[in-house]
């Protein structure tokens, strides 16, 4: 069991965003969380990655209790995350974006006097190569196209050599072509690096083509869980979610 969330509850000033949720992700799985807006998907991610501490319940990673740890500690334990809105360092160059992440992972950030430009070049360029951004290495990342920025974010996330990737709406705001190429990229990288995936997604074609396990959130609780075909056939799910979408 790679990731386990036990009886997690999260309330903000009386509003219950997550209500007694259990969730497990096994190694090598492509797990997906779906659900209508406001169902608590992003909150769930924030609980797992330490950006929020659950009001009740625990989070385990590799059977180690990580509840309440700081995000950077959780990241160092092998969890990678992309955010819903593109999350890069917009005024740094593409190279620097990835380099900062590589340095942090290699524990080389606390170095006050060595010129940074000479460090971890090889690793950084390897990552840029993986996502196809070598040619843009010296562009300012904020000026890149949206698709490139998403690829860059992927490289940043991979820099910490995670075992599990949490992707929050990886194709949000993308054109069909961009969606296809992004999903190809994710699948390729997950396969090459033997990554486990936990993602949220609104595009049902993507969900059913990638996921091998789907969890459906509704009003902060798990409504259904299982193999894609089981979830697709579940009448509750069809009523509250797929029915609306269709």
């Amino acid at each position: 069991m790679l990731l386990r969330v036990e009886n997690a509850t999260m309330s903000f000033d009386g509003f219950i965003a997550i209500n007694d949720v259990n969730l497990t992700v096994e190694k090598g799985q492509m797990a997906c969380i779906i659900g209508p807006n406001g169902a608590g998907k992003s909150t769930m991610f924030n609980l797992i990655t330490g950006h929020l501490t659950p009001t009740e319940g625990r989070v385990f990673f590799h059977d180690e209790d990580i509840t309440g740890l700081a995000p950077h500690t959780i990241c160092q334990k092998g969890m990678g995350r992309s955010f819903q809105r593109t999350n890069i360092f917009p005024r740094l160059s593409v190279f620097e974006n990835v380099q900062v992440a590589v340095l942090a992972h290699a524990r080389k950030s606390f170095n006050f006097f060595t010129p940074a430009k000479d460090l971890v070049q090889e690793e950084t360029y390897a990552l840029l190569g993986d996502v196809g951004l070598v040619d843009e290495a010296h562009s300012i990342s904020g000026t890149l196209s949206y698709g490139f920025q998403k690829q860059l974010e992927m490289a940043i996330t991979l820099a910490s050599e995670p075992e599990i990737l949490l992707l929050d709406e990886p194709t949000a705001g993308m054109s069909p072509q961009e969606t296809t190429s992004t999903i190809e990229l994710v699948e390729r990288i997950a396969q090459e690096r033997d990554l486990t995936l936990l993602f949220t997604e609104h595009d049902m074609d993507v969900v059913f083509s990638v996921a091998d396990k789907i969890t459906v959130f509704h009003q902060g609780a798990v409504l259904a869980e299982g193999k894609p075909e089981d979830v697709r056939d579940n009448p509750d799910v069809q009523r509250i979610y797929l029915g609306e979408a269709a």
Binding site: H72, Q99, V100, N111
Partner: protein, 478 residues
């Protein structure tokens, strides 16, 4: 990295050589000033510029690189000044250099304690907390008579005899060397992995956190480094005056350094140095004649920067209008169009500044100079209005013609334009514009030189650009 190879890397660092070269050049400036018979004031003035540059660069480590706007940075200036001052004053056997080293340590320790409380808060809360803690430091210095001397300050602090030479040249050299070393260290720091990571935190704290960076620790370290170097600057000010007053820690000093950084450009390393120099020269020029409008002027500059010059002056000079998607010709045309636009701004700025200082110096000489006998051939003796109009009209006509040549990439015009800006500087010298006005024209010189000699633009000039591009250039300019 092995120590040996690290030493070799430092040896190869071109920036280090630049620092050393500048230091060697500046080292003999006092001799030049004395030889030329200029006032000793300039030696003291430059010493102050060095110290404030150090303070501004240290402050900008927080503001520009860390995105942390501290409204209480003067606290560390004060702590440094008082640490060294109290040690020298009350401990008889205290060594001058030990006291000097104690100042940055004191600054760093104070920053550790205060930073521990402040860095967890972001934005406005950080600004207010640093303001409040800075005020606490000021109040302690102001009210604790038994220890700090209260508002009487600490006076008559003993310093070695060599500091006290009548021309101040010794202390100038001492400060030059110390600040050069300190600023070089800061340069290394901002370009180190620590500095890069700090910039990443400024850009996106949440993301930095989730690549595994311990954000709070980095901020605290940055706060301490800034505190240490500010403390050093405080001690240098204290030694310069041989006394220290609570005003050194007052929050108006914090905003002064903030203005220097903003004016010079917060996203550049040397921006604050330019800002410190400009602000201090402006201060000297304006306070000399009209001390009561100095704050008014500062406020005006601040508003102007915020509305029109967000990158500061160095940012203005360095900014390039480009996106990676453009092809070569479009890129060149955009850059040249931007260049011509900014040249106009500089020109207008220079004319306005000359007029402004002329008014300050001889307020009643509107139509005809009251101090000098009018001579047709001597522009200095003209009244402010005819002389400014003449400058504006003739200058604008020439500039328009020159820029037209530049936009069609004629090699000759590049040189002519450079000559034009250099001549403007000579003209300002002839008109006896004060130093700050000269500084602005000088920055214009630097700007033209900087842009026209960039590799790609130089290439465009020597190759010439196809006729199609020429038309496009004209369109872009219209």
């Amino acid at each position: 990295m092995e120590p040996l190879s690290q030493a070799r890397a430092a040896y190869r660092d071109p920036v280090l050589w630049c620092f050393l070269a500048v230091m060697a050049l500046m080292f003999w400036v006092p001799e030049l000033i004395i030889y030329m018979g200029w006032a000793d004031f300039w030696i003291i003035f430059l010493t102050e510029v060095f110290i404030w540059s150090l303070f501004a660069v240290a402050f900008n480590l927080l503001m520009g690189y860390g995105g942390l706007i501290s409204f209480g940075q003067a606290a560390y200036l004060g702590i440094g000044g008082y640490t060294a001052g109290l040690l020298l004053k009350y401990i008889v056997w205290m060594n001058f250099y030990v006291a000097l080293i104690a100042a940055p340590i004191g600054g760093a320790l104070a920053a550790l304690v205060i930073g521990y409380f402040c860095i967890r808060r972001t934005h406005i809360y950080f600004a207010i907390l640093t303001l409040a803690f800075g005020h606490i430091v000021y109040l302690i210095a102001f009210k604790w008579y038994d220890f700090t001397g209260g508002d009487n300050g600490l006076i008559g602090i003993p310093v070695p005899d060599w500091v006290k030479d009548p021309t101040f040249a010794n202390y100038y050299k001492f400060v030059l060397v110390i600040t050069m070393i300190a600023v070089y260290l800061l340069w290394r720091i901002v370009n180190s992995p620590f500095g890069k990571t700090l910039t990443a935190i400024r850009e996106n704290e949440v993301r930095a956190d989730f690549v595994g960076v311990d954000v709070q620790r980095f901020k605290l370290y940055a706060f301490m480094i800034a505190g240490a170097f500010s403390g050093l600057a405080g001690a240098l000010i204290m030694i310069n005056e041989r006394s220290v007053y609570p005003d050194l820690a007052h929050w108006t000093q914090s905003t002064q350094v903030l203005l220097m950084s903003l004016l010079g450009g917060v996203y550049t390393f040397f921006g604050p140095v330019v800002g410190a120099f400009l602000l201090l020269t402006l201060d000297a020029d304006i306070t000399q004649n009209y001390p009561e409008i100095w704050q008014l002027f500062l406020g005006g500059i601040l508003v102007l920067i915020l509305f029109g010059l967000p990158g500061g002056i160095v940012g203005f000079i360095q900014e390039r209008d480009e996106t990676s998607a453009d092809d070569q010709v479009t890129k060149m045309n955009k850059l040249i169009a931007q260049f011509s636009r900014k040249t106009w701004y500089f020109f207008i700025g220079a004319v306005v500044f000359t007029a402004f200082f002329a008014i300050l110096q001889a307020p009643d000489s509107w139509w005809i100079s009251e101090d000098w006998d009018f001579e047709l051939l001597s522009l200095v003796t003209w009244g402010i209005i005819p002389r400014t109009v003449l400058q504006a009209v003739v200058g604008a006509a020439l500039l328009w013609w020159l820029l037209r040549g530049v936009r069609s990439y004629q090699l000759l015009f590049r040189w002519l334009l450079l000559a034009f800006t250099v001549l403007s500087l000579v003209l300002q010298m002839y008109l006896e514009t004060p130093l700050s006005g000269l500084a602005i024209v000088f920055l214009w010189n630097i700007y033209c030189f900087y842009v026209l000699f960039q590799d790609d633009i130089r290439q465009a000039f020597s190759d010439g650009v196809p006729a199609a591009a020429e038309d496009a250039a004209r369109e872009a300019a219209d």
